[in-house]
């Protein structure tokens, strides 16, 4: 067996101090950067495990939005007759839905990440942010896999994507940050209050109705829009539609700036809150 020579004298950089945690600070990025390989393994694990013991495997990443699209088309287009202009409802729906499902999945994975990995938190130390981040990234992979569905549906309805397409990554990024920022709050709270786990489905349901996924923004009464736009996903979903279709949704405007601000506040607060709660994860989880 290989042996390690005794370190002659260890560099001081290897010193790790421990002391009572302070109340308000941002998580330091250095240990997180050092754990990037671990992050990679966690993402890989999530992806490998997600569709184990399923018949359809990875196809679920496409089947889920497809089924949802069919159901929503039945309810909102055929029964409720939601007007979507010259865009066929399924196209309208899917452009918002894919991003929304990415958001839901990422948000859910983030929120539950600490509790699900409680056994690790109690036994090994590494930057705890690895858990919510890996949850988030693994959902992005699913989102990318589901994109061909969009191509097929667009082709089927003979809708040409607009040149605004280049904006898509921006909206995807804002979605990720939104899911991450709010997910951080909930993941830390979830450790203490398992109520979060029960609350989450309702929260997401309400959130979806407060987002123009199944209906166009124009149906929202004027007077409530300042409040409505507090939801960062409003501008993002509409922006995504604009980027893909050109003649639907809304181009990036002042409202998008407004929601970006909300995201930044939620994210910063989330990081500080997470950092503060981090001290007791191992004791409480």
């Amino acid at each position: 067996m290989q042996t390690l020579k005794p370190p002659a004298s260890l560099p001081d950089t290897q010193i790790r101090h421990f002391q009572p945690g302070s109340r308000l600070e941002m998580p330091s990025l250095k240990p997180l950067w050092e754990s990037r390989e671990l992050l990679y393994f966690f993402v890989l694990r999530e992806l490998k495990v997600r569709y184990k013991q399923t018949i359809f495997g990875w196809s679920w990443a496409i089947l889920q939005p497809l089924f949802t699209m069919i159901v929503f088309t039945l309810v909102f287009s055929i029964i409720a007759r939601v007007p979507t202009g010259e865009i066929p409802y399924p196209v309208f729906m899917l452009t918002g839905l894919l991003l929304w499902q990415f958001f839901t999945a990422a948000f859910r994975r983030c929120s539950g990440s600490l509790v699900e990995n409680g056994h690790l938190i109690r036994k090994v130390y590494f930057p705890r942010l690895v858990f919510p981040i890996s949850g988030n990234i693994s959902c992005l992979v699913d989102f990318i896999i589901s994109l061909p569905l969009l191509v097929v549906v667009l082709a089927f309805y003979r809708v040409m994507p607009s040149p605004n397409l280049v904006w898509v990554p921006v909206f995807v990024l804002i979605t990720m940050l939104t899911a991450f920022g709010f997910g951080l709050w909930l993941s830390a709270l979830h450790v203490r209050f398992r109520d979060v786990g029960f609350m989450l489905p309702f929260l997401l349901q309400i959130w979806m109705y407060a987002t123009p996924v199944a209906y166009p923004y124009e149906l929202v009464p004027e007077w409530i829009r300042p409040l409505y736009n507090l939801n960062p996903m409003v501008g993002v979903i509409d922006g995504m539609r604009w980027a893909l279709l050109g003649n639907s949704g809304r181009p990036p405007d002042v409202w998008l700036l407004y929601s970006s601000l909300v995201v930044i506040v939620a994210l910063t607060g989330g990081l500080i809150f997470f950092r503060r709660m981090e001290n007791e994860f191992a004791d409480v989880v």
Partner: protein, 472 residues
């Protein structure tokens, strides 16, 4: 530059405990607040031996005398300071709930201290839980990478050691099979193999020695000894005093969260044995977990072909009480609780009581000719030394079991227990001027003898309880 690699200054860790009375008295808000307490959340964790479990106020007297600021708080650790230098091997001993695991958790940064500070210098590897990062759905190979990364290895490092890890774990054939199909033994072996190859400068070990089968435990011990010989620093938490004694040169004794003693391993272990001995006098019955004579985590290594497990070694004094502390002249019964899966015909048992200077006396079936007809299923083999002719010192008990051919070692000679003889020799009529100084260093065995002085007076000396001397 000093070569202190672990330093702790006034470390303290407080846990909050849900206080039911207070909650019942006040309204919904406090009931809501109670959920915040780890005392509520922790028991849901699946069976991990968190200190907290032993910390509920009623459990085994642990909580009662612990320093508490209020009913809702409990200090699992308080005011603990020490320094450990490079390449030292230190053992941490103490009862369940004395703060041992909490200390290791602080050192490995899993949890933060409530007060105090300190540092750890160098890469820390912890064997806190073997295979804890395994995911059941992933293959052995995937889990090795995953677990290695969790424990702080880079991908390149794991690549380099992969073959070695698999070989050590003896799971080469199943390395691409999901871990959920592994036997528990394979699971543990693979977990330990990964952890043992981190090559940290500081290794923290928590009770790893009490999981798995005997062969695996032996492998663990061997690996730990090798690590310490490489000049790395090792901190071992164990109930197994024999192991601690064997591995460590220094011991820290935690008692109710405080550092009761810190010093040369043998001395601290002896003091610890004294203390648990005297505690037994006060408590008539204890749970097996707290049974002082059952040194849990003790590894008794038996020849695998004979299917023999030695579950427990129990020592009892003349009144039948389990203890590790005996009065001079008292009788000592050694009970070997075994489980023989294969019938063992007429084996030979050998016991040896060793003092500081070496073997003193023993019992040997090869000499006396008495043998059990067979050992099969669960059973107990006892040997009672009717009167311990021993001075107040500490002793080690060794055993061996040979097959009927007198050669094959079913259990090769090994330490199975530590015990202490304690008493004031003046109670036995000893009154020499050098008694206090020398009683601890003399040859411990004292057979009854008689001095006959030139004037014809006779003086009998014997280690017999005083009452028996008087009646003679």
């Amino acid at each position: 530059m000093s070569n202190v690699v672990i330093q702790a200054q006034g470390l303290g860790k407080r846990y909050r405990i849900g206080a039911n009375e207070a909650d019942r008295a006040s309204g919904a808000k406090s009931r809501f607040m109670r959920w915040k307490g780890p005392g509520h959340a922790a028991p849901a964790s699946n069976g991990h031996k968190l200190d907290l479990h032993a910390l509920t106020p009623n459990s085994n007297g642990r909580g009662q005398s612990a320093p508490q600021d209020s009913a809702r708080e409990l200090w699992a650790l308080r005011d603990v300071s020490f320094e450990i230098e490079q390449s030292q091997v230190a053992g941490i001993i103490g009862r369940n709930g004395s703060g041992k695991s909490t200390l290791l958790k602080i050192l490995s940064q899993i949890t933060k201290p409530t007060e105090g500070k300190g540092f750890v210098k160098g890469r820390v590897g912890s064997l806190l839980e073997v295979g804890s990062g395994f995911h059941q759905e992933l293959t052995g190979r995937e889990n090795v990478y995953m677990n290695g990364a969790i424990l702080g290895m880079s991908r390149r490092e794991i690549d380099r050691k992969f073959e070695e890890i698999v070989e050590f774990a003896e799971v080469a054939k199943f390395i691409d099979t999901p871990v959920k199909h592994y036997s528990s033994g394979m699971h543990v072996r693979l977990g330990f193999a990964v952890a043992a190859h981190i090559e940290p400068e500081i290794l923290l070990v928590d009770e790893v020695l009490s999981v798995g089968d005997a062969a695996f435990q032996k492998k663990c011990q061997k690996k730990i000894r090798q690590i310490s010989q490489d000049g790395r620093t090792v901190l071992v938490v164990s109930h197994n005093l024999v192991t601690i004694n064997r591995l460590a040169s220094r011991a820290l004794w935690l008692h109710h969260g405080q550092l009761r003693r810190d010093g040369v391993c043998e001395d601290v272990v002896q003091d610890y044995l004294d203390a648990i001995g005297s505690e037994t006098m006060n408590a008539a019955s204890r749970s097996s977990e707290h049974n002082p004579s059952n040194i849990d985590g003790l590894v008794i290594d038996a020849h695998p072909d004979f299917g023999l497990n030695i579950n427990q070694i129990v020592l009892k004094d003349g009144s039948g009480r389990e203890t590790l502390q005996f009065a001079p002249g008292d009788s000592m019964t050694v009970e070997i609780h075994y489980d023989a899966q294969i019938r063992i015909e007429r084996p030979y048992l050998w016991l040896s009581v060793d003092g500081k200077l070496g073997p003193t006396f023993g019992a040997n079936m090869l000499l006396d000719g008495h043998q059990p007809k067979s050992m099969y299923g669960t059973g107990v083999l006892k040997c009672t030394f009717l009167s311990l002719p021993l001075l107040p010192q500490s002793f080690t008990l060794r055993m061996a079991l040979r097959a009927n051919d007198m050669k094959t070692g079913i259990v090769n000679p090994q330490e199975i227990a530590l015990f202490r003889v304690r008493g004031d020799m003046r109670d036995y009529g000893f009154s020499g001027a050098g008694l206090q100084d020398r009683v601890g260093n003399s040859v411990p065995v004292m057979l009854p003898y008689v001095w006959t002085m030139p004037d014809g007076t006779e003086h009998a000396v014997s280690i017999q309880p005083r009452s028996e001397i008087e009646s003679m």
